[in-house]
Amino acid sequence: MTAVPVIELVDVSKIYPLASGDVVALDHLSIRIERGEFVAIMGPSGSGKSTLLNQIGGLDVPTSGILRITGKNIRKMSDEKLTDLRLNAIGYIFQKFNLIPLLSAYENVEYPYILKHRCNDTTGRVSKLLSEVGINKRLAEHKPAELSGGQQQRVAIARALINDPDILLCDEPTGNLDTKTGAQIMEMLATLHKQGRTIIIVTHDPLIGAQAERIIRIKDGKVDEA
């Protein structure tokens, strides 16, 4: 393939040094994810999938190997550069929604926009995204604590999309939702994928994983080929 993969891991290892002996969380891992893919990363707890997610999300850097996000190796990046990467290239959707409690739903979505553009959104993008995820104007005035779990996750999706990221990174996005709401959220992600977005979803739920195009299974810090 000639196109630059959106994520490329070559021989990536992550080792946590501990007094009781080093813990190898990722063990010479090589993964390639193309633009527009819908990938599920699955594995039991302790398999290293959370560590992998943190690397891909630019929250942490590998001990060795090459990890390219949109073609840029992040291993040598400064904290400032990594933060910029998180702001511009990655949209996070967390299990616990992780909205900022001090800000209203609208402001939560607008927040990364302000960080990036240094001004308020005057283009109407925030409102447009909120209505796309089904949050009306009245709900958008509310603080996260006043919203249901499903509504919070919708706001979180809108927030993740605000800076038009290359990757949408979802960490157990339905984990804190009931089945029906969870299905709605997954439907929304499927729609986004159809629109051409790269979506990586980390889950241990096979039903969720099955909705992705491709499943990468992780076991003991390695890709489980079986």
């Binding site: 929250l59 400032e80 933060t83 910029d84 998180r86 001090l102 607008e110 302000i114 960080l115 240094r118």
Partner: protein, 404 residues
């Protein structure tokens, strides 16, 4: 429209924890009030003392003999002069010639003698003055200046203590002493109250004409001291030097006491005291700093997860740092502003109680302590917020996200 989202977060955090933030700000309020009201008190005291002193400190007292020199406190209260110990007419003329251009020069005779009023005997200071000096120096409250040898004018304290009115009689001289000259005099005037003075403590004295004085004690033209009342207190050093150069060329004929030096030393004592009191007041700001630090640390600890979220979605370390510094600055600003308003009220009361007058309250030297203490308060706030903010900024986002 541009709004600083980081600043918004700080403001909202303070509002969310309103009571806690208020308590922290109160520490700053107390510190600012303490420092500025103490500072204002000191400044007002200095100005008031200076004003009071400069009314009497513009005096050079020239006394006979080498000795001590400058810095004497009382210009010769009760010192009886021995026969050799005087300033003669020639010396006086010299002093008048050299120092005359700086102010009013006048000679003074002084004695301490027994006086008898009705049946009570006591000792009193007696001054002899030239007629022309009496007219310029003395301020009469009641009656007239003495003209004849049988009349005297007395100070208000002396009059009050001895129940003297115009027309009262005083016997000067010790009647039990065979050799003493006795003279009966009549009070023709009572002086206006003058307060403490370097040159002439007239409040508690009897003042008579030169002629009456020398009639009693002899020594005409042998003055106890010569006073120079300066027109401008800043001439004190120049005039002192001029007199000394003129008269002390060969040997120390006279000693010049410059009372403005005393004023300087009193003023500097007051300002030392003020600094000391302000330092004590400053301790309250240290306490405030501790409480700000505590509140900020609590704020950071409570918001670890929020910091994790902020960092994970692209907030820079510097922005998190800024968020907490803003919080400290807001606490400091609110505390300092409230403190400033309160210190104007409290300072006014303290000055009224301690200094007794608020004449100098609304002067630059006094009010400058308000912005000064506000600045100190805000700076202390920011300094105590630096570590908590630094900690917040340097949290590991992964760890922070995991917190509950």
């Amino acid at each position: 429209m541009k709004k600083d989202i980081i600043l918004q977060l700080s403001i909202r955090s303070i509002r969310l924890n309103f009571l806690r933030s208020l308590l922290a700000a109160i520490g700053i309020v107390i510190g600012v009030v303490a420092i500025s009201s103490m500072g204002m008190m000191g400044a007002n005291m200095t100005m008031s003392v200076t004003e009071e002193l400069s009314a009497m400190a513009n005096v050079l007292v020239v006394k006979p003999g080498g000795g001590g020199g400058g810095g004497g406190f009382m210009g010769g209260g009760g010192g009886s002069s021995s026969s050799d110990d005087y300033i003669d007419k020639e010396q006086f003329a010299d002093i008048e010639r050299t120092a005359g251009k700086y102010g009013n020069v006048y000679p003074l005779y002084q004695e301490s003698d027994t006086v008898k009023i009705r049946e009570d005997e006591r000792r009193s200071t007696i001054y002899g003055m030239r007629d022309e000096d009496m007219a310029t120096i003395l301020v009469v409250e009641n009656g007239t200046l003495p003209q004849t040898s049988g009349s005297v004018i007395v100070g208000p304290t002396f009059a009050e203590n001895n129940d003297l009115v115009i027309g009262s009689r005083i016997t000067i001289g010790d009647e039990d002493d065979e050799e003493a000259i006795i003279q009966k005099v009549r009070v023709v005037g009572i002086l206006e109250e003058k307060g403490m003075s370097m040159d002439l403590n007239s409040d508690n004295a009897i003042i008579m004409t030169e002629k009456t004085f020398t009639g009693l004690y002899g020594g005409e033209g042998e003055y106890t001291q010569v006073n120079v009342i300066l027109d401008d207190i800043d001439d004190a050093d120049t005039a002192t030097e001029a007199i000394e150069n003129q008269l002390n060329r060969k040997e120390d004929e006279v000693a010049v006491q410059d009372s403005s030096r005393m004023m300087e030393s009193i003023t500097s004592t007051v300002s030392t005291m003020t600094t000391f009191v302000m330092a004590i007041a400053g301790i309250s700001l240290l306490v405030a700093a501790t409480s700000i630090f505590n509140v900020m640390m609590m704020s950071v600890t409570e918001r670890v997860r929020e910091i994790g979220i902020l960092r994970s979605i692209g907030t820079q370390k510097g922005e998190v740092l800024r968020m907490f510094i803003y919080e400290a600055v807001i606490l400091g600003l609110v505390g300092a502003v409230i403190g400033a308003i309160m210190s104007l009220l409290l300072g006014w009361l303290v000055v009224l109680a301690m200094v007794g007058t608020t004449d100098y309250f609304f002067t630059y030297q006094s009010l400058i302590y308000v912005p000064v203490s506000m600045t100190i308060g805000i700076v202390i706030c920011v300094v105590s917020g630096v570590y908590p903010a630094w900690r917040a900024a340097n949290l590991d986002p992964i760890e922070a996200l995991r917190a509950d």
